[in-house]
Amino acid sequence: MDFLLTSILDGLLLGFVYGLAAMGLTLIWGVMNVINLSHGPIISLGMFGVYLLFSGLGINPYVALIFVAIFGLLLGIVIYFVAVNRVINAPHLSTLLATFSVAMIITGLGTAVFSASPRNVDYSLGSFTLGSATIPINRIVAAALSMLITAGLYIYLRRTRSGRYIRAVANNRNAAELMGVPSVRILALSFGIGTMLATVAGGLIATLFPFTILAGGTYELKSFVIGVLGGLGNPVGALLGGLILGVLEGIIPTFMPATWVPVIEFILFVLILMVRPQGLFGAKKS
């Protein structure tokens, strides 16, 4: 029973970080109907950003996250203007392939520079014991920061002018344009925020697990599953989806081999797409 509790708690904490990564994907989908296939490599870049700042310059990983976030935002805006803007109204295949080619470029350059050997950010805050459960403090901090960032995003989307613009463009791009919203700039900003969330999530994951330049791919697939669980385009749903996935990953290995986890995850993913493509939490389709 205690073992189960630890697994659930572990999974929940990890779920917040998964949710943060998925939020980046789902925000971009919600605003511009683009499935960002460069999501995984961008998560990897976040991991390497924290790694380089920490091992190269000795900056605290959590401070390094700020620089990584700024980098992610700018990178996203550049990617938007280079690869997405021209095909934003084209059929889905174009944006899928455009973002995939960005993924190829990042992975190709990343592998050439960093090779595919595993790295880790050697920074531990010790662990925390609650009854019989032992939890690394890194995970608690990562979960807390993910929650904080989610709350920040929520307030930003509700309370600020540009946040409201983003929601307006997500709702109806033409109408927003008619109301004087500079839609291209808002789309670029949304893409930037989406990639920023991905890099920050990557940076947080780097403080928990070892990684390679290709590690982002796993989290990209998890983000798809989470995004679909929570309803693509629904940031709060993404957090809940992340928690569900985290708990599943915690519980399943307690009663069957851990290698079955992805089988269940992806079957769930396809089933939800078939039955409820708007997600478990029923985001309205704009």
Binding site: S94, F100, M104, W260, V263, L273
Partner: protein, 345 residues
């Protein structure tokens, strides 16, 4: 109110319409010449040069052409983006390999079974996920591929994560390993020719017109009498069978099968890139795309300048094509030189 004049006009219209259709049909036979000529040239090339290494590189090109042409039936004609098409290659390969390695079947029987397994999966999936449109369908195909890979990874009869290997003795039945390699090449050539002809027949048939209509506007197509759900499902099945058969052949030649190479998502995406490069929705496009992509890849991998960043260079190239030449090479040529349309189908 119709005056005699109108009727006459309508009659001339029908006539020109009819002759146009006839002319187009005659022209489309011309369209088959170039694809078949390319496949035949590739087939006899190794015999001319007499080098085994040439045959191996042409095997890769042929494989690309066959898979890209299969995918094109769904992607190019019907407009549904299957990101996980490799699942049919992998599943077919696994079923056929299991029959050969464990049950001792011959390659000739295992290949159709691989195709059958892939077709059956496509049929069931078609019923389930082809209702999804656009991005949702693409995501679902990725999910199906990943679920299948994760499942095979745990499936003991198929060897789990280590996969299966063929006993070397098996090749004796085909005249030794060297003969088996050469045999695999000619089987692949025949299959490639077959899929190209199927692709052409689909494109010029009423069924194919229905698919093209679905691609342009699914709702309008249904209003015009295209039974979209069944047309889409059959297009999906048709595009899955050949990859299933080829999977068996590929892993037979390979001698072993494992979950990761069998269900490599990037391989799916490479197929899409080839279709896009050559021109989606055309018979010739995937052929040009397959030859072009593999030649480019070969060049990048061996060039000292690009060797380390070949993936990035290929990505940049893909981006340029997606942004500026979305119709692919054949599509671009067709638009640029309308006179060539008969030849470039």
């Amino acid at each position: 109110m119709s005056s005699p004049n109108d009727t006459q006009l309508a009659a001339t219209d029908t006539k020109t319409g009819l002759s146009a259709v006839l002319a187009q049909n005659a022209g489309s036979f011309v369209g088959l010449i170039l694809p078949v000529a390319i496949i035949l040239a590739l087939t006899i090339w190794p015999t001319i040069t007499g080098k085994d290494i040439t045959r191996e590189s042409i095997f890769t090109i042929m494989l690309s052409i066959a898979l890209a042409s299969s995918l094109n039936i769904l992607l190019g004609y019907t407009g549904y983006v299957s990101f996980g098409h490799v699942v049919f290659f992998g599943l077919g390969g696994y079923v056929g390999f299991y029959l050969m390695a464990v049950q001792g079947w011959s390659l000739w029987l295992a290949m159709p079974m691989g195709g059958l397994a892939a077709g059956l999966l496509a049929f069931l999936l078609g019923k389930a996920i082809l209702r999804l449109r656009g991005g949702y369908f693409a995501l679902a195909t990725i999910g199906v591929n990943e679920a299948m890979r994760a499942f095979i990874n745990n499936f003991k009869p198929f060897g789990g994560p280590v996969g299966m290997t063929l006993n070397f003795q098996v090749y004796k039945d085909y005249g030794g390993a060297a003969r088996a390699l050469s045999l695999a090449f000619y089987i692949l050539a025949a299959l490639t020719l077959l899929i190209v002809i199927i692709s052409y027949l689909v494109r010029t048939s009423k069924f194919g017109l229905g698919l093209l209509a679905i691609r342009e506007d699914e709702d309008a197509a249904e209003v015009m009498g295209v039974v979209a759900p069944s047309a889409k499902t059959w297009a999906y099945v048709l595009s899955a069978i050949l990859p299933g058969i080829i999977g068996v052949l590929f892993f037979f030649k390979n001698g072993s099968i494992e979950p990761v190479p069998a269900f490599r998502l990037n391989f799916s995406i490479e197929m899409i890139v080839m279709v896009m490069l050559g021109g989606q929705g055309t018979v010739l496009g995937p052929i040009i795309g397959g030859v072009g992509y593999q030649s480019l890849r070969g060049f990048l991998l061996t060039s000292p300048l690009f060797k380390n960043i070949q993936l990035a260079v290929a990505g940049a190239l893909l981006l340029v094509i997606v942004l500026f030449v979305p119709a692919g090479l054949v599509g671009w040529l067709r638009n640029r030189f309308p006179a060539l349309r008969r030849v470039l189908q």
